[in-house]
Point group: C2
Chain length 401, copies 2
């Protein structure tokens, strides 16, 4: 069987774990199998390198930061290849440029333009396990780039797409659940989930897979598997695949929770388009990822714009508002310490009454909810962080999750 | 002025020292200067990475070790480029493959085949300081290679040769001295030394510069300067240049000392060429660097072969001799804990009587000397380690060093 396996984060944070992964690969590998391993940096390495860079001065130029961060994965893959060879498994490490990941030159958030797999395929043909550094590539000018946080998932899915192989993402959770088992212990393990649902769950904080990698898997129809590192029983994990493969009769597949969220409501803004555009430009300049957005218009060409961001980002925003002549004039309300609950399910699109059910459950429980946004396959509401657990339990039980 | 500067070892072993080097470069740089900085890994990084690799198993494949070790320099150059940019100096880091160092594919001891400086020259044209990772390159197949221990000096000299620039090697010693000032405090600082003398001194343990880099500098006529990191007064350092540039009236330029040496004398070997060749093949297989070699023939087609190696290597050799049917039969004498003293000077070639003066001084002082070897510009003798200091002082005073 040919497969791309990705190991990251805490599953690869010590020399002992690298050796354990090598032993695991040696134990599952059969004659003739094609195996590509994508590895990320060891545990906290990336954070440590960023801290080191900051000691060099206030400004950290992104080209240099990328060159620095790329050493993290390069170190892991060399060590893993050494461990594999010591178990008698022929293996070679490959950095981003060696594995032909040509990207745009947007340092720290480069996008893959093309993957030249010539060398990878040559190594595979020679019967070698290819151990590929995740997260990194090279621009057309020959500069080292990185794909941004969580980019190793993207590396794994992209190489799987290019080779036409399945992709297994190994991490420190067992599988995808209907809700976080730490909050709702009765949450059910999902055997399968669609790409769309996984994207909504990832985007709204489930944190197991980066949204972008799921998007890529959907686009190139790469069958994804998510499981716990070193676990061999596939029944314990979750497959992410196309909706058409199976029929889901529950309207809701899962709930994700995103904590430490702030909501701003800007009242009485000019409804001329210019003011609102200016506001979102300001947010973009501050590098604030806005999640929920809503706008309501009322008489006299005025509007109210609401949006959410993380509590941490709201501190930068408060400072910027204070310094902005236009925004200073506006009546701004801010709520902090909120949690966003997102109910996700492809069944929702064809199943009416989900929204009203959500609202009535929260009302029954006496839980206040604030901002609401919806998509074709999801409903998100914000509640006070204190009421989060109560809300999750009530919703899980009502929807049979 | 255009210059290649190399910083290595203890001069670059902390974030503080990287920042200090950046400040130093910022202070010396003038408008229009072309500067290439070659940096090695921070302090003990290389040793730490080797230790990490050994934790992966008994065998450390060289291709993977090279990929692992290359991260050390990559980290330093990225940090140094960040520090420079924070001081307002435009700077870019470059790894071995980015700076176009194409090498042979002999991992861990690759040799440079060609240097493609296109990108480097482009950056220099844009007024940027180029911060280049020393010690590393890339093979024609695209594998990461390293040039072997001390290879950053070679990187610096090679890029200087290619650009036609001078090369300054900054380290933790002030300059080259006639003898080690720790042993002979009255040793004189050398303002200038020839390539040949520097090569002899390096080969016989002066340890400031790798022999290979001096060889390269001589071949391409690169003017070398050796000085203490961050020191701006060039008068405190040493220039290495061609003999023809100046006339040296002292027969001896300096003395170098190499400690912990063992000498083997193999008596009664067959003088058929085969036995001696077999012995040196055994030494090569054990990776033993033989320094002094001498062979004397006597009646009945027998010969005595003597050679030196380090005390540490002699332990491997003793085991190998024990296991070798032929060598076991031979009468072998071994002396350990010796020091090799090498007197070096281009003036020696044209100045007779140097050897006899050396022997008579040692005899006057009652110092026993053993193996002797000579070259055109050097005389080496071994003495007991206990008598080393006495011998160095006597020779320095006699030759006015």
């Amino acid at each position: 069987m040919n497969v791309v396996q990705k190991y990251g984060g805490t599953s690869i944070d010590s020399v002992e774990k690298i050796r354990a992964i090598a032993e695991h690969i040696a134990s599952i590998r059969k004659e003739g199998d094609g195996i590509v391993i994508v590895a990320s940096a060891m545990g906290k390495t990336t954070d440590e390198l960023i801290a080191l860079a900051k000691q060099m001065g206030e400004e950290v130029p992104k080209r240099e930061l990328d060159a620095l961060l790329a050493t993290g994965e390069q170190k892991t893959v060399a060590l893993l290849a050494i461990a594999l060879q010591n178990l008698g498994i022929p293996a070679v490490s490959m950095t981003g440029f060696q594995s032909g990941f040509i990207t745009t030159d947007q340092h720290s958030k480069a996008r893959i333009k093309e993957i030249n797999t010539e060398r990878t395929e040559q190594f595979l043909k020679e019967g070698k396990v290819v151990v590929m550094a995740g997260f990194q590539g090279i621009s057309e000018h020959g500069d080292i780039t990185t794909l941004g946080r969580g980019g190793s998932d993207t590396t794994a899915v992209a190489i799987a797409a290019q080779l036409g192989w399945d992709c297994e993402i190994y991490t420190d959770v067992d599988a995808i659940f209907t809700a976080d088992p730490k909050i709702y212990p009765k949450a059910k393990k999902l055997d399968r989930i669609t790409y769309e649902e996984m994207m909504e769950l990832s985007a709204s904080g489930a944190g197991v897979l980066e949204t972008r990698s799921v998007e890529l898997a959907k686009k190139y129809n790469v069958r994804l598997f998510i499981g716990k590192s070193l676990e061999t029983d596939k029944r314990k994990g979750t497959y992410v695949m196309n909706e058409s493969i199976f029929i889901e009769d529950m309207p809701i597949t899962g709930i994700s929770i995103s904590d430490d969220c702030s909501i701003y409501s800007m009242r009485g803004m000019e409804n001329d388009g210019v003011a609102v555009a200016g506001l979102f430009q300001l947010l973009a300049d501050l590098n604030i990822n806005v999640d929920m957005i809503s706008k309501q218009t009322y008489g006299d060409n005025k509007c109210t714009v609401s949006f959410s961001c993380t509590d941490a980002q709201s501190r930068d925003l408060d400072k910027a508002i204070e310094a902005n002549e236009v925004l200073k004039q506006i009546n701004i309300e801010k709520q902090a310490n909120l949690s966003i609950l997102s109910l996700v399910g492809v069944g929702m699109a064809t199943c009416s009454g989900v929204a009203s059910k959500v609202f009535s459950i929260l009302a029954q429980e006496g839980i206040m909810y604030y901002q609401i946004t919806t998509s074709e396959i999801s409903i998100s509401v914000t509640v006070s962080k204190d009421e989060k657990i109560k809300a999750v339990i009530a919703l899980c039980e009502a929807f049979g999750l």
